[in-house]
Symmetry: C2
Subunit: 571 residues, 2 copies
Amino acid sequence: MSGITVWAPNAQKVTLLADGERHQMSATEDGWWATEATGRDYGFLIDDDETPLPDPRSRRQPESVHGLSRHFDPSGFDWTDSAWTGRQLPGRVIYELHLGTFTPDGTLDSAIDRLDHLVSLGVDFVELLPVNAFNGIHNWGYDGVLWYAVQESYGGPEAYQRFVDACHARGLAVIQDVVYNHLGPSGNYLPRFGPYLHEESSNTWGATVNLDSPEVRRYVIDNALMWLRDYHVDGLRLDAVHALVDESPKHILRELAEETDALSAFLGRPLTLIAESDLNDPTLVTPREADGYGLAAQWSDDFHHALHVALTGETTGYYADFEPLGALEKVLTRGFFHDGTYSSFREKDHGGPIDTGTMPTWRLVVANQNHDQVGNRAAGDRLAASLDYGQLAIAAVMTLAGPFTPMLFMGEEWGASTPWQFFTSHPETELGKTTAEGRFAEFERMGWDRSTVPDPQEPSTFTDSKLDWSETASDDHARLLEIYRALAQLRKERPSLTDPRFDRVLVTIDEDEKWLILGRGELSILVNFSEESRLVPHLTGGVLLLVSTAGVDLSDSGVTMPGHSVAILSR
Amino acid sequence: MSGITVWAPNAQKVTLLADGERHQMSATEDGWWATEATGRDYGFLIDDDETPLPDPRSRRQPESVHGLSRHFDPSGFDWTDSAWTGRQLPGRVIYELHLGTFTPDGTLDSAIDRLDHLVSLGVDFVELLPVNAFNGIHNWGYDGVLWYAVQESYGGPEAYQRFVDACHARGLAVIQDVVYNHLGPSGNYLPRFGPYLHEESSNTWGATVNLDSPEVRRYVIDNALMWLRDYHVDGLRLDAVHALVDESPKHILRELAEETDALSAFLGRPLTLIAESDLNDPTLVTPREADGYGLAAQWSDDFHHALHVALTGETTGYYADFEPLGALEKVLTRGFFHDGTYSSFREKDHGGPIDTGTMPTWRLVVANQNHDQVGNRAAGDRLAASLDYGQLAIAAVMTLAGPFTPMLFMGEEWGASTPWQFFTSHPETELGKTTAEGRFAEFERMGWDRSTVPDPQEPSTFTDSKLDWSETASDDHARLLEIYRALAQLRKERPSLTDPRFDRVLVTIDEDEKWLILGRGELSILVNFSEESRLVPHLTGGVLLLVSTAGVDLSDSGVTMPGHSVAILSR
C-alpha cells in the first residue's frame, strides 16, 4: 500500500487516523485527498468532526460498519484455481444461498463443507446473497453499506477468497449478489464524503444513488470489477436494477456491461451479469449490437408467479393476473407474461415483448422460490409448508426441465421444513423497533394478524431460518432430493432440455382440467396440477424417463396422471 | 453399433460389404438405407457396381480414402478433461499449425510433445489445419474428402482424441479447421450416393456443395457438431465461407451457429465458430438479435495485407490498394480496409462497414502470416526470408499488441527459416501431374519462372516445409522468440492490450516518414517502418515496457526510433 486516498469533495479538510496517528491529507484533484501515510486500522476525520469514519472503499470492518477500516491486500491470497477458465451461463443451474442460514455456523468456511452437496446436485453456479458489510451480525444483506468490504461475521475478505477458490476446485462458479440501488439504514457515512446519494429522491429502500456523478459511477463500476478481479468471482447478480435512476446518455448498466466485457477479455474467462429487474424489458439482455445493454440474463418473476399460482391457487396482490393456467403457457412460450399487457397490480401496461426468434431462453433466470418470494411472505414459509410432495415435484420439474436458466433456493431440493424469514440484527434499539414495526404494519395492511409475523430483530427469527441438514437423511425429504438429482442428470443426457430456442418450446394446456404438456424436442413434460387423476392426451408410444409418483400409466388413449403428478416422457 | 445406415437416394440397390460378408440393405425413408448387420471394415456397393465405396460418414480410413471404412466408436476414449469448462475467444491468442510439418514425425502424438512450447509462448487456442481424410499421405488438408474421418497418417481418430485431451490438460483449447465449400480432386465418392454437389456450378476448388438439400445440410452440420461433441473440440474455423452458396431463407452459417449454440448450452462450455471469409461482411459476426448470423469471429485479411505492405513494400495484385500507411491506420481503427470502398484487385466495391460503436475488436482474427499467405507464395517463403529482425519484431508487436485476436502461424515466433510450401501426395500419376502443372501455370501467369516454383508432388517440397525445432536454440531465433513471449506476458499484465473497444484505439501516422503510433489506453505502441532513424513525437515521460532494439531513446522532443524498430511505452 503506497499511501491512502479518498474522494471527499464535500470536505474542507480530511485527516487520516491510522493506527492512532493523525495525518493531514492533501487535496489532489476532482475532490480526491491523498497522503503517503498508511496503516492497518484507519479512518477519516472530515473537517472538524473527531469521529473517524470508515473508508468508503474499505475492504474490511473488523468491529462493525461504524468502526475503523482495516487494510486488506487482496493480492496476498494463494489461489489454486489457475486452471479455471470460467463457466458460461447457457444451460447451467444456479443455486441461491444465504451464508448466514446455509449452515449452522453461518460462515464462508462452513459453507465450503457443503459444496460437495451442490456438486452432487448438479449445480454449476453458487449465487451468494450480498456479503458486503452490514449493520449487526446477521442480515439478508440488503441493508449493506460498505460495498467493498466482506462482512466480518461471514469471515471477512480472505475467507471469501478461500470460498471462491474452493468452489472453483469443485467446478462451481460463483455469482455475487450486489446492491447498487440504495444503502442500508445504518452505517451509511457516504453523504459525509460526497454526493453519493440523491437526498431528494428515494425508492422503497432509501435515497437513490446519484448516478449523475462520474465519481459515483466509478464507485459502482469499480466495485463490480473488484469482485470479478480480486475475488475471482464469475458473475454478478445486480439487485433491483429498476431502482437505478440514470438519465445519462449511456445507462450505467450498459457502461458496466462494457467494462465487464473488457475485463472478461483480459482475464480470459466468461463474466456473467444478471439483473434482477421488475421492468420486463428485453433491452437489458439484448446485445449492444441490437441497441440493448448487453447483460447476460435477467430474473423473470413472471415465471415464478405463474407457477406459484398454478400450484397454490393463491391469487392475491400481484398474483391476480396469473390465475389462468394460460399465464404459465404464455410464460413458457414467450418468456414474459406481462409483455405490454395490463397489470392489474400496477394498474398500468407493463413490460415489452421478447423477440423469441433470436433471444435464447437461458437469458431468463427462473425459480419456483427464492429469497424474496419466500422471505417476503409474512411467515417466511416455503412452498414445502403448504404443498404436497407431488406438487413440489412439479415445481422442480417445471424449473429444471423448463426452457429457462433454473435457480434453486437453498433447501428447496429436499423440501426443507425450515422457514426463511425476514431477519435483522440492528444494534440500535430504535432502528430495531422501527424495522420490526415497519414489517408488522406492512402485513397488517395486507390483512394479516401482526402476531403471526415473526419479529425480525428476535434472534430466533434468524436461527429458525437456518437449514436443518439432518432432514436430508429422512425418507420424505430424500425422495424429493432424488427428483432434483434425476433432473440434473437428465439435463446432462438430453440436449433438448438445455436447447435455448424459444421456437422449440411447445405447450398445450387444458384450462379446466388443469393439466399441461410442455414439449421439448423428443421430450414431453406432462403435468397434472389438479388433485384429481387426469387422462392427458398424448401420442402413443414413448418411454417414461421420470415420474413423480407410481400410477402414471401409458395407454392408447393417453397418459393417466394421478392428482398432483408430473412425468417426463421420451418419444 | 446397432446396424449401419447410409443416405443414398440415387441408388436402386445398396449392399453392405462388411468384413467380407454381403448384406442387402433396405430402403427406409428419404433416401436412407439400413441393415442390422455390422462389421469392422466395411463399404457400400451401389446398384451393380462391385467396387465397395467408403461410408460418407466414415470415421476412419486405414488404407486410403479409396479403401474400406473402419468402424470407430468415439465414446470409447477415456477422457481426462472433465474439469475443462472451455475457453472463450475474447482476449485470447491462437496458434495455427499444420500437423504434417509441425514436427518431424508429423503426427498428432508427436505434436503433443510440443504443446508445452505453446503454453510457454502464451498461446490459448491451437488451430489445426484440416485433419479429415485426404488423398495420399501428406497434404495441406484442403484436398480432403471424407469429412468425418481423421486422416490415418496423422494417427486417426483416437490419436485425435488423445491430442485434444492433452491440450485441455495444459489449458489449451482446440480449434479445428473444417472445409465445407468443396471436396478434394480424388476420393470423392459422394455423387455416387446422392446429390451432395451442384455439378453445374463450381468455385476455385471444385463443384459447390448442394445446400438446397436438407440431407446435405445435415451432413455439414452433423459434421461440425461431431468435432465439438465427440472430440471435445472448442471451436471450428470454417474455410472460405464465401464459397458456400446458400439461397435458403436461413443461411447455413446462421443455422450452424444456432445449432452450435444449442450444443454449447448442453455441453456447458463455449463453442467458438470462426469464419474465413473474403466478404468483409460484418453480418457474419453480428449477433442474431441484430440480424447477423451470430458467428464468434472472422478472419481479416485486410490486416494482413496492410501490415504486409507496410513491412515489405510489395504492392502487386491484391496488395495494391494497401500501399499507403493510411491503409493500416484504417484497419486498426475500423477493422476492414475495404468496407464498401473500391477494390482495384476485384475491380468493384467491396465489403461493408463495421459498427465500431458496438462490435468488439476480438471478432476479427488477424495474422502477419498464415498458411495461405505463406503457402500461396511461389516459393512458400515466410516473412523471415525477406525481413530483418526489427521488421519481424514490428510484425509481432502489431499482431499481439494490436486490437484484434492474434493468430500466429507455427514457427513465426522464432522466425523459422524453413519455408512452408504447397505440397500434395496424390498417388495417381496423372492427378499429380495436373496438380503440379496447375501450380506452375498459375505462377507463370503472374510472371514467375516456373523453375523457381517447387513441385508440389516432390517429397522434398513437403519435408523442406517441416519446422526445424533446433533453430529455437540459436541466438538469432531466440531473440525474436523472447519478443513473442514478452508480448504474451504483457497481454496478461495490461488490460489495455485486450480491451475490445474500437473507440479506445487511437492511431497517428506519418505517411512520409513511415512511422505509426497505436494508442491503447495508457500504452503507446511506436513503430518505425522506415529503415531510417525517426524522431516520433510523443508526450514526454513514460516508461518503456518493450523495445525491439537498443537505441530507442526518450527525450523531451519525442522518441528517437532507429530504422525498423518498435517500442511499447506506458504513460
